[in-house]
Symmetry: C2
Subunit: 325 residues, 2 copies
Amino acid sequence: MPSSRLSPRRELATATGDQRSSAETRPDAPGLLSIAAVERDTGLLKDTLRVWEKRYGFPQPLRDANGERIYPREQVERLRQIRRLMDQGHRPGKLFAASPTDFAALLVQSDAPAALPAEAQRMLGLLQASAADALRSALQERLQTLGLEDFVLHFAIPLSIAIGAAWARGEMEVAHEHLYTEQMQNLLRATINALPIRAGSPRVLLTTFPNELHSLGLLFAQALLASHGAACTSLGAQTPLEDIRKTAQNGGFDVILLSFSGAFPARAAFSGLRILAADLAPGTQIWAGGRHLADKPAVIDGVRYLAGMADTLLALQDWHATPPS
Amino acid sequence: MPSSRLSPRRELATATGDQRSSAETRPDAPGLLSIAAVERDTGLLKDTLRVWEKRYGFPQPLRDANGERIYPREQVERLRQIRRLMDQGHRPGKLFAASPTDFAALLVQSDAPAALPAEAQRMLGLLQASAADALRSALQERLQTLGLEDFVLHFAIPLSIAIGAAWARGEMEVAHEHLYTEQMQNLLRATINALPIRAGSPRVLLTTFPNELHSLGLLFAQALLASHGAACTSLGAQTPLEDIRKTAQNGGFDVILLSFSGAFPARAAFSGLRILAADLAPGTQIWAGGRHLADKPAVIDGVRYLAGMADTLLALQDWHATPPS
DNA sequence: GCATCTTGTTTGTCTAGGACAAATCTGGAT
DNA sequence: ATCCAGATTTGTCCTAGACAAACAAGATGC
């Protein structure tokens, strides 16, 4: 007798792989995580965790009564730090070999001590105090003051980076980050939704390839474009290549914006871009975001690389200067 | 020389496990998917896919030059249908044993032929045509006409269910569903954001346990509560139990709303609820959503079960009738 | 008849160790 | 400096087996 479900859960099942066990996420056992829970928390595949244990001797989880791996919280935190450094280009072999001192040095160095606006600093505090309402209104106030463009470029992005760093350092709970993401999303989506579309602006389709999550980054780009009147349609993250192609053809878009994080292999990115570019309606452009792509870009007809968020606006300017229609 | 990343990707890495391979998602090879891609698309673990192949003889992927599994699109679609029926309580053994006729019958039966408003029917069409702008304004119009509460209860929820069913039937691409989720999110978040908070209303914290994705459902609940003036704070999906506890204590919330989909094992849900209820500030309530929980609820002090979305509003009424402060 | 306990079956996830191709680093030649 | 060949690192996939939790069915008691 199947009991029917209340509401669909698929939109995320697609994007993430919704697992169904109970063991890996058993909510008891305070500081101890199963291998599946660690996979979820760190983004490292089970296979990778096991092979690291064999090759490098870390992590070194305990075992429960059934001989299954049990990871103490501190090891998971270390794994997160390692993951973060790897995302920045370091290789695991070096990281595991590094002395504790060197490792710490790398970590500190990685925390872009970039100029973080004083207000952003204050918001880190609000976040750590879980002061949701205060955070909400503070963000809103900043947005009012700075305007959408400056807010995104000079406030939201540095703040997001700082939060990522604080999280890797273990100074922030998962809940804090969720709270931040929610508030920021609410604010930006509401703002974007209310913006007028300027005539003569391009119609832009935004998304990422499969295996690209990174949803806040995409939202930032959308906000920048929309603030200049572009007609944006986002598919969120993780759209299969074939689907992007079809949607782009149907929708009559002028621009397809793809965002890539550092973790996405450049080879695959270029290969996908080539395929996408191959059967593009004439006049349609592709904008590919992601710093590591812009470093040594493959020359593909119809593809433009954006080295940073700010480049998005330059591309838009150029589009206006020479509309391909 | 680490190349630094533009923007943080963590908020989703947390929630999903961001993988880093290239093979599983190689964007070439039109109708053929690697095992990792199938895991992402169907939500079935690699291990499960392999063990099904051995035990039931399905799926039966091809092999590439390296002996690695390659799944044709049609098998993946079948897997999605199976997954959907399993979410409704069917067991795999029966499904694999069923004759094609019986299987088809189950599928049809599962597609809640529930009364779908004519306008919703029309929107399914818009979605399938990828008419993003038309969809956007149509949704907006519906929302204006019906008001937030009716819109959610009698329009958005049935529509979401219908979309889930169409997707399982293979009539809908991933992109269509992404498009829908995005538009709906934009609309609801913008609306919620603009709602006033009524004095004397409870402060509600919304989230789900780890392994619970289901973000649109949570957003629906938030919309309903907010439409009646409640002060809602959402953490999104997938918050670790410990984090929920801490946030709830800090934030001075009156209610914690947890949402569970059918795929979440009831045992684990009750166990988690008990832990959470144990050290709750006096006067704080827990509302647990999810039909399968309400069927045979474990009696836990401070926990109220919501059998359906509409129950959310009843609970709110009761709260107002007898404020626990 | 309805509830509770016991047993047998189904099912998902974990374990182990081995293999290999893609990505990266290294040194040599232009 | 730039480019190519070879060596090394590294992530993911493979097989095969084991076991506990979830479930179904039958037995027992009220």
